[in-house]
Subunit: 435 residues, 2 copies
């Protein structure tokens, strides 16, 4: 290169799985990134607890164990936070923003909980605060929502945003495995942690749907605003019955906005029509589905986790910020939560439901059950008897759209009936033909 | 609003289907767009052949029949070209760029053919030249490729990028309809034009894959570089046999890059494994699938045409340019074709193939046919006899990866064999397990 190429320096906080991936990508694709951006992107210093891990990836990279070496370095323009967890990642990012540095992060905990403060700091210092990698790993979704789809009034955003549970449900569906069995296999393969609560309990997905909902609806949705239910109660029997009824079971993050009625956000196992674009998203893949006007439907699919896909998103943000630095317009797109919309209470969320229960196998039972639903204003779409178990019969009910409030009342009334032995499971159904 | 809000003025060229959609979206979502952008976006003048159509959508919009009224108006910052066709759209955009105006277009003909000149003009005048709507309608794909995925070395980009043919193939697959029958239905529904050549012949898709390949591989791929084959030879019999073998038939645009071997781009009916993410993209929906490092696989799905989805993409670009104007960084991301990579000649493109043929139904025929393939270095994966037709048998052959050159030689040799009555169809197969 004859011309002197500009150089943009990065400070990297953390060199674990994703941090290591970023080091690899910036090295392996250096030629191509330099040409596309018109500047060299160089990691100047790495904050690392294990400097030997950094040296193993790139022996020439200087490391430090002091955050000041990075946030006080005037040559560093972009601080990339990949340490994970809330603290001290939050404080380090705040220090970087206060120092006038652009910040890129993959930290969904911090973004979901402290997005507001960080955006305000970024705006005050006219710098970028970017977090594409915090949701759905390698899949471009944050920037497409904020930019490409910026003219849309979004009514629904819904996604398979946890790879571990999607892998587990796919196995349960395709190989008829049980929950406990498939959890063990996922743990053995490294897809699930030894304490799987964050994934299996839906809490990881909750952080992501909170972030997506905030962007889609321009109103901050906090973690506490998200109703959460995990997949641990899903049995292979539910999956089998879902299949027979034309559905698959997926753990979905679902956020909706009804004009004048506020915003709702929830994570729970969901029966989804087999012809829905999300229904064929299997294994560890993620996808985010959007409905809005004028775009209609759109979906974004890819790998939601893993070293390299996540590094793709982080490096995309680094390139974005670099282009903004070169063009003198950092902070070009900031926070878009300009409203404070009311949250719809979970009891008022309306959704069709699947109810599996054991009832006495005798004449007149169906009428008794149908009356209990009817008295509680729950309309039924389908009632099917699935199995006979001695004196009991297993039946499955699909309702039309019903509020959580009415559903709980109906379930309560049903369980008090002498003919109902047990309500085995209740799963929400996402099916626009039943709403 | 107490503060005086900035106003960004647009000149709109064309108020047909998409232009009308843009007028509707900017009006219907005005509140939300103004808040998200921090400025009011106002159509100042519309170049329209039928001013009454503009008035029917918005009586307050001034119209003109002189391009000078728009490109010479110093208050207009963004010119939005939605006239379609090559001329005079090209000349109008050139005039706008020369006048220092940002340009947004949905015109795939002009972008595929004159992208280079237009980008050079935009760069010389430090303005934006944006064309998200030129490929795959409402689906965000151009900006995600240039920005979100900018750190990726892309090896393959492949898409269902023509809604008409996807609708037709879906109908043929699901309802076992014939090509002629389904074409008529598509024409009756307004999905296909009275002269359907551009869609059915693959030429519309060719323009789009040329644009996508140019961006993905940073090297300009022209229309003449794309090998094109339409869907008119696909019979319901081929679709049925594909199904039995685990495939669906889709019209795909496929562009690949092999390091050191150049770039290839083609449009043809393709047999795709049923578990591929593109395989379940049906009806008029479009999707673009990308493979690259580090992202792995990603797919973008949505409506590829129609007034409102296309207006979504156009308005997204208008918002992008408005934000650039406000931040003083128009032209921030320009042309990324910084290389001139060689094109792989079509004869050297390697792909597995499906061959359906009629042969004499007698002993020893399979050996004769297998020898003809072998002598021409074509390896076979599967040979199946499908039907008996008097003295003839219909057989289907699936090959491993074979160059177009070797395939043509083999087909030539086969058709000269006395035992081969006819080669009925040859369809390329996209299946990484056979490459």
């Amino acid at each position: 290169m004859a011309n002197k190429m500009k150089q943009i320096n990065i400070g990297l906080l953390g060199a674990g799985t994703v941090g290591g991936g970023v080091i690899l990508v910036l090295n392996q694709n250096r030629d191509l990134i330099t040409e596309r951006v018109g500047a060299e992107i160089q990691i100047k210093k790495v904050l690392a607890r294990h400097p030997e891990k950094v040296r193993a990836l790139d022996a020439s990279l200087p490391t430090t164990d002091k955050i000041e070496d990075i946030v006080n370095d005037p040559d560093i323009s972009i601080v990339v936070e990949l340490m994970g967890r809330e603290h001290p990642a939050l404080e380090y990012m705040e220090a970087a923003l206060r120092g006038g540095k652009n910040v890129v992060t993959a930290n969904k905990d911090v973004v979901a909980t402290h997005g507001k403060e960080l955006f305000e700091l970024a705006a005050a210092h006219h710098v970028d605060f970017l977090f594409e990698a915090a949701v759905a790993g390698g899949i471009p979704i944050i920037r497409p929502l904020k930019e490409s789809l910026a003219a849309n009034r979004i009514s629904k955003i819904m996604g398979i945003i946890n790879g571990t549970t999607n892998y587990m449900l796919t196995k349960m569906t395709q190989e008829h495995m049980d929950f406990a069995e498939v959890l063990k296999e996922a743990q053995d393969k490294g897809y699930a942690e030894s304490d799987p609560t964050a994934d299996v309990g839906g809490f990881d997905a909750a952080r992501k749907i909170a972030i997506l909902a905030s962007i889609a609806f321009n109103s901050r949705v906090g973690l506490d605003d998200v109703y959460v239910e995990g997949i641990d109660k899903i049995s292979s029997r539910d999956i089998e019955y879902a299949d027979e009824l034309g559905y698959v079971i997926k753990l979905l993050g679902i956020a909706k906005q009804k004009e004048g009625k506020g915003v709702s956000a929830r994570v729970h196992p969901t029966m989804l029509r087999k012809d829905h674009p999300l229904a064929t998203v299997n294994d560890v893949f993620n996808a985010v589905y959007v409905e809005g006007q004028p775009v209609g439907e759109a979906m974004f699919f890819g790998r939601g986790a893993g070293r390299m896909p996540t590094a793709s998103a982080v490096c995309g943000d680094i390139i974005e910020s670099t282009r903004n630095i070169l063009a003198g317009c950092t902070g070009r797109v900031g926070c878009t939560c300009y409203e404070a919309k009311p949250m719809l209470p979970p009891e008022e969320i309306i959704s069709p439901c699947y109810i599996r229960m054991l009832v006495e196998d005798q004449p007149g039972v169906w009428a008794t059950i149908a009356s209990a639903f009817g008295e509680n204003k729950v309309s039924l779409k389908t009632v099917v008897q699935k199995r006979s178990l001695g004196t009991l019969a297993e039946i499955v009910v699909i309702t039309y759209g019903v509020s959580e409030f009415a559903l709980r009342k109906a379930a309560d009334a049903l369980s008090k009936l002498a003919v109902v032995a047990r309500i085995c499971n209740i799963i929400r159904v996402e099916d626009s033909t039943l709403e």
